[in-house]
Subunit: 413 residues, 2 copies
């Protein structure tokens, strides 16, 4: 790897989305990311979606470009080896990310006893030590009750593990910030974060807490309307649905111009005594605005207006299913330089994304496959933990570490 | 500020969620983040939610702890001053984040002409140069068609601007990664990212593209069910709704133990010929599993089982509206150290979140308010752009830069 983080080594003890995604983000920027798991696999080893043979496509997706070490960390020696890998020397090493911190062996204080300048980032459920996942944090802070059709009373949870992905990004940011500090001041540290606090903070950042404090109100369900200005979904004559945005003044004017509806819209504004140049007025009159626009879309197929919309700089999109997006959107094809066909040993070949970043000082690299579970056990024990050959052999014999059979291993790793 | 990034200076030209959130994340870690806007305000100056007086609570939420400079960048001299601020000297400066890059003045090549080692991160809509926002990227990649009640055909958009928040996290990560590279190799660079690619890559990371490639299938709507294992919402006797998780083996066993339903669940598994220790089997049998569990919840109030669930380590949550969350959840109160009452000059006082991170080497700091628009114009022109006093006065006189009247300024900034 020649990425922007080349030379950095990060060890990961994790499962599910947030921390694996953080590790993969670092790996796709060129860091050597070593994930360790039990020889039987981590808690997410069989996470859905799965291939016809049962292999986890989730695991393959979330661990691209990492090295995998299989250690039986239920044994004392296994735990010690994991600690040796985490705390191995190197100016650009001693970096650890986890959502599985265990008191007495992978908590920061214990690890710092082996390497004082360790930087660790630990993601937990909530600040009380209770477990929490995206699916529980989201209802706790209120988003499902503000999602779905206006007037409905049914909560709707998001399908995207958004809090996990947001927290994963913060794990990367927190690690890089603390490593930057260590580089300048020599001191490592423990960085702590909880999934619940990430969501709680976002309620503040978005102004939702302030709105409640100052007005006693909070935003309610608004279907697919863009909140606070104008944006709406419309059904077209070909049965397709589109999302159309009038958030900024320019977007709103472009939309009126290209649909030729500036005049009836002005009449509507006059009838309501509203100024649609004010985004809040568009929000408040959204139902009436939609009533003016809807017949225009109902009467047209997407193909009738797509080019004109693009030429006019309208901000819009069709709604697609996942399958339609994968089959039809050029941004989800090999035309997009972030994607390339990647062969995942033992499973198959499909289009995989590398980092979405373009770094001008580093050439873009194709995505690497995920490792086989334990694929790099021997290599990491030798080159990171620096265990002598004889001891490595004994550890394999004792079943404390494991590695796939040579037959299963890809030719080059 | 004594944060982990103390000493770093970042300049931001932005609007809306992703880049403002990125700048605020950096500011809350101690960086000096300078956002510049037109003297009349940026495109998000009046973004909802708004206070009773019309002030944007969104703006106040997204710009906490930054410095604000008001420059008329529609004038040539105004643009030059913005460039001088972005490219001002300093080993820890020359860092620029934007979603408003304009060819010829805030594109990387132009700015690098003033400071060769500039690091810039530019977020765009899509790789074709088309505009895109969270509300259009989300339908394009397929999530709204996989959200909402099983069997429904209506797309449901998320209420959380998740792609913006994820992209904002990547802006922080990309900036810190490229600054780390500059520190070691001396070279700045342009870091490019699009909102569409962030979403496209996530489809790959989650295994959705692989599933389609290998099985021809993609996940469909599943209501509020946890995908791929077991997790479900239940209505309780008190009218409250709870989310209950059986993702891991331990979560699943805890749930059966605490509800006392291990026996009927085993009978169900036997009847179906299924092994519920297999998470995929739980997913496939979720409707039947829910039928066994639902009467238990229907017959009980949340207060009847809450303590037992917590003691048993069940992963669960109630569903709350935003208002209920703010009023009832201790994690959204001053009991949570990330929150403190913050007075936003000219608007009011409410509970605001600082960074959700705990950095063990830096004391936690209370959130700072957002600046008034232009509050730091004079200070930044003097101490960053290093313009002579007389020129600063002339720029104010010519209306090229602006600052709130002294009466409006907070006593200490």
């Amino acid at each position: 790897m020649m990425g922007v983080l080349k030379g950095m080594r990060v060890v990961e003890s994790s499962a599910f989305v947030a921390v694996p995604l953080a590790g993969m983000t670092l790996a796709q920027m060129g860091a050597d990311v070593i994930r360790f798991d039990l020889p039987t696999g981590g808690m997410d080893a069989t996470r859905w979606p799965v291939a016809p043979g049962g292999e986890s496509l989730f695991w393959a997706g979330m661990n691209k470009g990492k090295r995998s070490v299989a250690i039986d960390v239920k044994t004392p020696r296994g735990r010690e080896i994991a600690q040796e890998i985490i705390c191995a020397p190197g100016e650009d090493a001693g970096l650890f990310i986890t959502n599985l911190a265990t008191p007495g062996w992978t908590d920061h204080a214990t690890l710092a006893g082996r390497r004082a300048d360790l930087v660790s980032v630990t993601l937990r459920g909530d600040r009380h030590g209770r477990p929490a996942v995206d699916y529980t944090v989201n209802p706790a802070v209120g988003f499902p009750m503000a999602t779905g059709p206006e007037g409905s009373a049914e909560p709707v949870a998001h399908a995207l593990p958004a809090w996990d992905a947001i927290a994963g990004g913060l794990v990367v940011s927190g690690l890089l910030a603390a490593e930057r500090y260590r580089l300048r001041h020599g001191a490592g540290q423990a960085v702590d974060l909880t999934l619940k606090d990430v969501a709680a903070a976002m309620l503040g950042h978005l102004g939702i807490i302030a709105e409640h404090a100052l007005t006693g109100q909070t935003r309610g369900r608004a279907g697919n309307s863009l909140y606070g200005a104008y944006g709406q979904d419309f059904l077209c004559a070909d049965g397709q649905r589109v999302m159309v945005i009038g958030l900024t003044a320019r977007q709103w004017q472009n939309l009126l111009k290209v649909t030729g509806l500036a005049e009836p819209m002005a009449a509507l504004a006059a009838a309501l005594g509203a100024d649609f140049d004010d985004e809040g007025a568009r929000w408040q009159a959204r139902a009436a605005i939609t009533a003016v626009l809807a017949p225009w879309f109902h009467a047209r197929r997407v193909a009738d207006f797509a080019d004109a919309f693009d030429r006019a700089g309208v901000t819009w999109s069709v709604f697609r299913s996942f399958a339609e997006a994968i089959e039809q959107d050029p941004d989800l094809s090999a035309e997009n330089p972030i994607f390339s066909p990647v062969t995942q040993p033992g499973i198959g070949t499909w289009l995989s994304p590398g980092t979405p970043f373009g770094f001008s000082a580093q050439a873009r690299e194709a995505a690497a496959p995920a490792p086989l579970l334990g694929q790099h056990t021997e290599a990491v024990l030798a080159d990171v933990a620096r265990l002598p050959e004889g001891e490595i052999a004994r550890l394999f014999d004792a079943g404390i570490v494991a590695q796939p059979s040579r037959a299963a291993m890809p030719m080059a790793s």
